[in-house]
Subunit: 358 residues, 2 copies
């Protein structure tokens, strides 16, 4: 991308929010007393069996519902922000359009943002992507270019598209404008729970755009930010790197966790915020069963549709004994008000059926 | 029940609303432009194949989300109203408690209302009821009494419980206080879409408590009320009776429609409002596939959890060609603002899985 991005700070987030506000939904923040009670009881099943004395924290949840965001996920924030900034760049040729590769929510988000400004969007999608996601992206008027599924194969196709069309690349997470867009969810969440001051926010971590943006939104506020990942087949790359001796980012991950939005390794710019600038206070991981149990609670108790990736933060608060013990210790009797970002709701009923049919 | 009920009129509904307001949620009314567009296009699949020229109405939806009501369904309204009125009756002995038979949402609703006022609740539930529903009802502190599954078997157990305990019977729909409670959803819906005046409201019809209550809420307002039923295995008993020569209520139905809340035949008092007082302007039925298609749209586009019974009204507006032709004719170019009551969201992910797994 040809733009010069603003510094990665909380004030830049405020500017980003002002810029994208006309184009995104102010999604609601919901509470739920049943989930508070469950989280504030020791060891709700399916908990880690290793804990000798289950932790007993006091937790009040504030759920930021980005599953109700446009295109059904927070990705609309980053895509609108990146495109609005790009549009104001003198080197950008609108008729050449924009290009990205994504099999998921970023594809739809960029397609929507591009259509909004009548800019052509070229989206490189692996041929094995879910047909409904390809259809949804095409439905926003984007041109879909099929590719192989490895990142080398995808990137080769993107390079070709750029050569052909002169389109500007808008990557899914490893870019300052994207990070600043995603972080606006954290800003809104803080404002929406006033006058309560949140003690913490938990955000899932895939490429790290949302987590690092959220971390920026809390800088200097006293609110602690935590990252949540699936542990299946090493999907917890950021957690492993975070607690490693070298602190070196793990650049390659191959996992088929059900939290399909979190299969990507964390990007370099997000990592610099999460780890090097120490703006994330801890990383936690959960099992596939814990993700499914959290989904079940959200569907059956809150009656809203969330995709598996969306509930990984809730699963940490409910089932990760290390996290829970930390909240018990730091929150004491009063406990903690925890913001949890539900990142998206893009799951088909067929996919749900496969996940939960006996 | 020993109470003398108020007349079945709109003013009585206003009183009922004032009475129950502290105990129920003011559920949101949502709109959705994708669903408006779909409903306002000719013949969205899976439409009736018989239509020669598919109807082309203009429809703007206003969804009253009783799936977000307490206990996850509108039934909380009737149960609280009936219990509040019963409590004020001099012949009621609170310690003797209340009794009903239900395998569904009324059981949970009555259990919650009874617990709220520290009154014992005896709930007769067929042994074959879904374990999660039995557990949920017991979770509200009710005493569960198992029974056979036919209505004769259930009623025999209820009679026994009454003999034993002196409990007062609160039936699920065929009672004035229940009807007045359910009708408050219609009142709220009208107030929430101000200043737009609704042209019509569609409500599902099982026992008919909600449909008849909704009809009362619209009396004298100019808003037309329509009933929606599944057609599977004769579940459209009210529709068949409505258009029969004699207009006689069909008192027995045996259907296993996926819309499990609508398997009951319409009750006598609801029928007197729906048909004899002509407060319902028409009855329409939809297929199982149309119900599933409507569910899919609500999950994937609105991101909220609804049970199959909840979307039968939406399915009528999207797929019933007779209904659509009528809206096209009566609504003309301007079209209609239609209130649709989403009745409940009590479906387990396992049940969803079975419905939608390939």
């Amino acid at each position: 991308m040809a733009t010069t991005s603003p510094p990665l700070t909380r004030p830049s987030l405020l500017d980003a929010h002002a810029l994208i506000q006309p184009y995104i939904h102010l999604t609601p923040v919901l509470t739920n007393s049943t989930l508070n009670t469950l989280a504030s009881s020791p060891s709700p099943s399916p908990s880690s069996p290793s804990a000798s004395r289950p932790a007993h924290p006091t937790i009040r949840f504030h759920f930021k519902c980005e599953n109700l965001q446009r295109i059904g996920a927070f990705k609309a924030r980053g895509a609108f922000h990146a495109l609005l900034r790009l549009k104001s760049s003198p080197t950008f040729t609108p008729s050449a359009g924009v290009v990205t590769h994504s099999s998921g929510n970023h594809a739809q988000a960029l397609a929507l943002a591009a259509r909004t400004f009548s800019i052509p969007a070229h989206i490189v999608m692996p041929s094995i992507s879910t047909p409904s996601k390809i259809a949804a992206t095409a439905g926003y008027g984007a041109r879909i270019i099929p590719s192989g599924s490895t990142s080398t194969e995808r990137e080769a196709v993107v390079t070709e598209v750029i050569k052909e069309t002169g389109a500007a690349l808008i990557p899914p997470y490893d870019h300052a404008d994207i990070i600043l867009g995603q972080g606006t969810a954290g800003l809104e969440l803080q404002a929406q729970v006033t006058p309560t001051r949140l003690d913490a926010i938990i955000a899932p971590c895939g490429g790290g755009g949302l987590l690092s943006g959220t971390a920026l939104s809390c800088e200097g506020t006293g609110i602690k930010v935590f990252g949540a990942e699936p542990e299946f087949e090493g999907a917890d790359d950021a957690r492993r790197a975070y607690y490693s001796e070298t602190g070196e980012r793990i650049a390659s991950v191959k996992t088929l966790t059900i939290a399909d939005g979190l299969r990507t390794p964390v990007g370099a710019i997000p990592w610099s915020i999460i780890y090097e600038r120490r703006l994330v206070a801890g990383m936690y991981a959960v099992t596939e069963d814990q993700i499914k149990a959290a989904m079940r609670l959200v569907y059956e108790r809150m009656k809203i549709v969330v995709e598996p990736s969306a509930v990984v933060g809730l699963a940490v608060a409910l089932y990760n004994e290390e996290f829970r013990a930390m909240v018990e210790k730091e929150g004491g009797e009063k406990g903690w008000d925890i913001g949890v970002i539900f990142t998206g709701g893009n799951v088909s009923l067929d996919a749900l059926g496969k996940l939960f049919a006996a």
